[in-house]
């Protein structure tokens, strides 16, 4: 029997998974956009992004645009690879159930 793959615990959290899935389709995203798409609170979103940043999956850029602070998040190459591996593992675990 082949060994079942393990799911990356950093990505497995629902909000962190949602954040990485959102970031994979865009070049960069603001905190407010991520908050509106995920419907999460500022505190929870900040904490989960910090975990992704710590893992090296997301990079953060803080700047001022027209004297207003702006925080931009980008997915790193490591994040892209980790999400891809996670999806592969997920598909393997689900096996035939995906098409059902």
């Amino acid at each position: 029997m082949s060994e079942l793959p393990e799911l990356n615990p950093v990505i497995h959290g629902k909000l962190r998974l949602a954040l990485l899935s959102l970031l994979v389709g865009v070049e960069e995203a603001e905190f407010t956009w991520l908050r509106s798409k995920t419907g999460s609170t500022d505190g929870n979103l900040g904490a989960q992004i910090a975990k992704l940043e710590e893992a090296g999956y997301v990079s953060v850029e803080k700047k001022f645009v027209q004297r207003k602070p702006q925080t931009l998040y980008r997915m790193t190459e490591a994040g892209r690879a980790a999400l891809s591996e996670y999806i592969q593992a997920l598909k393997k675990l689900l096996g035939g159930a995906i098409g059902a």
Partner: protein, 203 residues
């Protein structure tokens, strides 16, 4: 957790990934109005040239339209609660239209100043450029209506090389009506439908 519950959780996660990826890529920007806006600007410039025969009518109208257009874009961005993130596709389409604008704003005045300008060349160049921009954008986002609009502009390019000045003007007026006004209104309708659908999905 039982095996089926676990499977449900994993399936949930796969659905979440698909939903979020499509949310991120979905464009909710409204660009249909810009086609109508520039179509009206072309009509104003044509009418101004036809009635007063002023050689600077096009240049002045386009410059005025550009100032007004920039002001509208800036005010729309100010009123938005959150800025939509940039995508590679969005940047590619933006680059195409900006490059077309720069090419036209350099080429047409240069032809005018060098006295090598005539109505047929003008319509053929503008129609060809708009054909390129619409065709490339339509192919990138796989939108058949915009590709059809490009074909109308390309047909106008060919037609502008033949016939009288009056026929050339009619070709240009018809192409503007179809590709700017009709297509713009159609795009606005599509955007409104998409917005309604997104609002319904959020409820």
């Amino acid at each position: 957790m039982t095996a089926s519950n676990e499977e449900l959780g994993l399936k949930d996660r796969l659905n979440l990934i698909e939903t979020m990826i499509s949310e991120g890529r979905r464009t909710t920007e409204s660009w249909g109005w810009t086609f109508v806006f520039w179509g009206v600007a072309y009509y104003i410039a044509i009418a101004w040239t036809a009635i007063y025969h002023w050689p600077w009518a096009w240049l002045v109208t386009m410059a005025g339209a550009w100032v007004l257009y920039s002001a509208i874009i800036r005010s729309k961005q100010k009123n938005k609660p959150e800025r939509r993130p940039g995508t590679t596709i969005g940047r590619a389409i933006f680059a195409i239209w900006i490059s077309m604008g720069v090419s036209l704003s350099l080429l047409l005045p240069a032809l005018g100043f060098s006295d090598r300008f005539n109505q047929h060349i003008f319509v053929a160049i503008v129609a060809a450029m708009l054909g390129v921009a619409n065709g490339a954008s339509g192919m990138i986002i796989r939108w058949k209506a915009q590709i059809a609009s490009a074909f109308v502009w390309w047909a106008a390019t060919v037609a502008a090389c033949f016939g009288s000045d009056d026929q050339c003007t009619v070709v240009f007026l018809v192409a503007i009506f179809l590709c700017q006004i009709v297509f713009g209104v159609y795009a606005m309708n599509c955007e409104a439908r998409l917005r309604k659908q997104q609002e319904a999905n959020h409820v």
